[in-house]
Symmetry: C2
Subunit: 560 residues, 2 copies
């Protein structure tokens, strides 16, 4: 089967030029761009731009709450040919089974899912997560072509301090001649040298240009990251200039499904850079041949002989206005409309760890009752819109509402282990969420994805927790024992099985329900529950074992 795209103006990513030519495709691959004239199927693109489809060099599928097939449906119309997914979240819940599950469910999609292997599962020793992945567990995955290497090595202190478990993972990756991705915000100088010397080839955490230039000058590829929350494009825009641009690629890291649907994906980054005055051909080069080179994807990222026919037809170059998308030679999106995606049937019975991931005994009010051992408590102070938290000391009145003080915006927080029925619950108080009644619960809580419950009373907290256990995980809002709204995430307790518009709608309804608990606009308590247990973001967090001082990594008693 051959297809000819004729009358195109082709973006040549090797020469940064646009060339008038016809592109001949045979089966999955490009025959060439030139004076080709005939094919089984001839498409006149009418002088429009033809360019290679885009690659997102670093992505977490789980942040979208979408299954791979649903994610593909959202990304492909924006011109995405491939993502490099780090299945860090599902691996923290389900271990190697989680990685296998994503790999199987993303095979044969109209967008290629490459994987890098989660390097930090669990994130820290204080995390009670679902599984531990050492170098030995990861090793069998390197044999797959779609596995490109070891994912972001977030544990940079472990690299610098030469933690043997960390060095083992790095060495195993190097022996396979696959890549090792970096993640080392603000690291510089000799510590950065030591980190890079382990073969950690890139970084997507640069937030200022000096940091990026130091890392690039020391040999790292820079991933310019522009996602839903972490947005570094403006700060790194100078990287689009010489001599830096040839060592850069593009990534989104974490994206909400609504943003992907409405704003775009990698196309958006190139478009925004163009709006800032940068040549879109540079952005396209970063997102195609350079990404393929950096991540070592053979035959990806160019409209050239032998390359996979992952090709876009653009209505306009500067706005990166994607009309048609070809994936492996097949038209998968036409005039901005996604064509039907074949379902990839999976035997869910083969993935018990994925589909029954909320392993917790029924919760009762007792589980959420604090036994007072004094009047002064450490309280976690949440800051609206930030992941940082602070410690506050509060004198609580335990004779009323077991210490909860809605007037002072101090309510109860429980972080429950939910992987292995241990019954471990870290219990305490949180200030700043604005919840005046009822409770919310979530099984999305980075990185170990505990069951987090916050509320004003034990009955609603127990009801919220038990509801999530009954639906296999997700997010919910409870008032007076009644579930006001939920967002089921039956896959590992963190991923939905619905499509992006449905998930977006459930999310909207859920966030509206939160208002019924008295939460003011501008405060999103589910963002706090998602990160309240992440033991690497300062200053005071709650683990399944109780309060943790992040800076010292020491557990603290609730009472002083």
């Amino acid at each position: 089967m051959t297809t000819l795209l004729k009358n195109g103006r082709i973006v040549n990513v090797f020469t940064d030029c646009i060339e008038e030519a016809n592109v001949l495709i045979r089966d999955k691959k490009i025959v060439g761009a030139g004076d080709y004239t005939s094919a089984d199927n001839v498409v006149d693109v009418g002088g429009r731009i033809i360019c290679p489809a885009f690659i997102d060099s670093h992505f977490h599928i789980e942040s979208t709450m979408l299954m791979p097939r649903e994610l593909a449906k959202v990304c492909v119309p924006h011109g995405t040919a491939a993502i490099v997914a780090d299945p860090h979240e599902i691996a923290n819940v389900c271990g190697a089974d989680g990685i296998r599950f994503f790999m199987e469910s993303s095979a044969g999609m109209p967008m290629r899912f490459y994987y890098t292997l989660p390097s930090c599962v669990p994130a820290t020793a204080n995390d009670e997560n679902g599984a531990v992945l050492t170098a030995r567990e990861l090793e069998p995955f390197y044999k797959y072509d779609r596995v490109l290497g070891l994912a972001e090595m977030m544990n940079y202190p472990g690299v610098i301090m030469e933690d043997p478990m960390v060095l083992d993972k790095l060495q195993t990756a190097r022996h396979t001649h696959k890549i090792i991705n970096g993640h080392a915000p603000l690291l510089g100088g000799r510590d950065l040298d030591k980190y890079i010397a382990q073969g950690i080839q890139d970084d997507h955490e640069c937030s200022n240009i000096a940091e990026a230039k130091e890392k690039l000058g020391k040999g790292q590829w820079i991933m310019i990251r522009e996602g839903t929350s972490a947005r570094n494009l403006a700060g790194l825009i100078d990287l689009f200039d010489e001599p830096y641009n040839r060592r850069c690629v593009l990534a989104t890291d974490d994206e909400h499904p609504y943003d992907l649907m409405t704003k775009g994906h990698i196309d958006r980054i190139i478009r925004e850079a163009a709006a800032l005055g940068k040549n879109p051909l540079i952005g396209i080069r970063m997102a195609t041949i350079q990404a393929a080179t950096c991540m070592r994807m053979p035959f990806m990222g160019a409209v050239a002989p032998g390359y996979f026919a992952n090709i876009l037809v653009l209505n306009d170059l500067d706005t990166v206005d994607v009309a048609d998308v070809y994936h492996s030679g097949k038209l998968v999106c036409k005039d901005k409309e996604m064509l039907p995606v074949e379902l990839n049937e999976i035997d869910t019975n083969a993935y018990k760890a994925v589909y029954s991931s909320v392993n917790i005994d029924p919760l009762t009010e007792e589980n959420f009752r604090v036994v007072p051992e004094g009047e002064k408590c450490r309280v976690i102070r949440a800051i609206p819109g930030e992941l940082l938290t602070n410690e506050e000391i509060a004198a609580l009145n335990f004779s009323k509402d077991n210490g909860v003080d809605v007037e002072k915006d101090i309510i109860k927080l429980a972080v429950c282990e939910r992987h292995h029925f241990t019954g471990h619950i870290g219990l305490g108080y949180i200030a700043g969420l604005g919840i005046k009644r009822g409770a919310i619960a979530s099984t999305v809580s980075h990185d170990s994805h505990k069951l987090v419950v916050v509320g004003t009373n034990e009955a609603d907290m127990a009801a919220a927790g038990n509801h999530l256990a009954s639906i296999g995980g997700g997010l919910c809002v409870v008032l007076g024992g009644k579930v006001l709204a939920d967002l089921p995430l039956p896959v590992a307790g963190i991923v939905s099985e619905k499509d992006a518009p449905e998930v977006a709608e459930e999310n909207r309804v859920l966030r509206e329900a939160v208002r019924k608990l008295g939460v003011a606009e501008g405060i999103e308590p589910f963002m706090n529950t998602a990160f309240i247990s992440l033991s690497v973001i300062p200053n005071l967090k709650m683990t399944t074992k109780g309060l943790l001082d992040v800076n010292s990594q020491v557990l603290l008693p609730l009472f002083i």
Copy 2:
């Protein structure tokens, strides 16, 4: 063991900048470049240039007639860290044993010998060479880290015509995820597309800029080749400009040892490009990080954390004046003086095919006597300084000197199979060599390295052939039954065991001896003997089976 190179001005190949910093080396690798201050061994380079050592991306060891250790001694003082060797010649004589022999004898040298696997052994079906290497024979070599892939695919007609044996080799290489080097002079258009589509990633045969730009634009890396004979730098000098330079590397392909000793190696190409007005930092980038990227050599080609400490101290940047050379952290050349190289002892008994490669029965005058079957003969016309030959028809007088006519510069030519005692001899006449008496013989005859003898009489021809058989191969000049000079090449009949100055001196004496046969200055008959049997260079060549019309690949009778 740590070494600090302080007060350097360091060439950063990632940013094309020069940065003042100190470089710290630990054992074989670079710790970093920065404010490092102490080490076991501190060297003040006094503000001189520090740059990564150079990589020759395509090289034939055999053309230098030197063993790897002797070659290293010649290249290292010119700043070479690594070569990518295609052992095509020794493989044509000794097959897989030849490749193994070079790999073993080049291990642990102060210059890294990478290999690509000869793709065309034998070169054509008309070549009676020493061994046939199919994909199956090559496959076991891919497991070695020093084997980078499949060497120059010269058989581009075979690729385009989809010869199954050729496609098998290409597919095997692709499956290993290693590289495939190209060799397709003047190929363009759809044929080039088809060739590149097989994953053939580079080309070193570009002789004009339009050809180079087409290949580069279609995704190939361009190796700018500047060797002893094939010199493409001037014609391709525009590739040093944007946007081309980032897809180019440097190579010499074939070098005479005398040129390496006196003119330089990769340093010479960068120097010559600088003399033509091109920024030496671009040349250095091509010869370092880009070569390492193109050829997939991990941790090679930069002064950066984790990279092998292959580092040069230059007295001057524009003239690429190499003073000191560090290889894997060890000083191997100081103030332009090579430090002693440890011998790599090899069990020569383990390489019988290499050390007894001239397998031919004793030659007699009878072997060189033409039985006349008419008066008109096809005669090969050699052209001084060219590899091209033409066909001439001459009326020879067989009643005198068996057809030899020194007055007309027509003498006798014999191409003898010398690998398997077949006794096959292609016999005929050659014009234009200027030999007036005696004979010369050589076991260097591309690509199958037959024994080639040319002379005015059968007695000297037999003596010359028998002398080479007695010394295991080489080159010699015979007059009146006496050997005037020889250059022994006991390794596969194509490589010496002496050092470069000795080989150069033997070569000088040999070429002087040729003058005693009456050959005028400016004619080098040993160049003709080296290529007179190469069945891919037009128009008329001599094989072990007789005359060959190169263009039709049809054997022709001597008599018309």
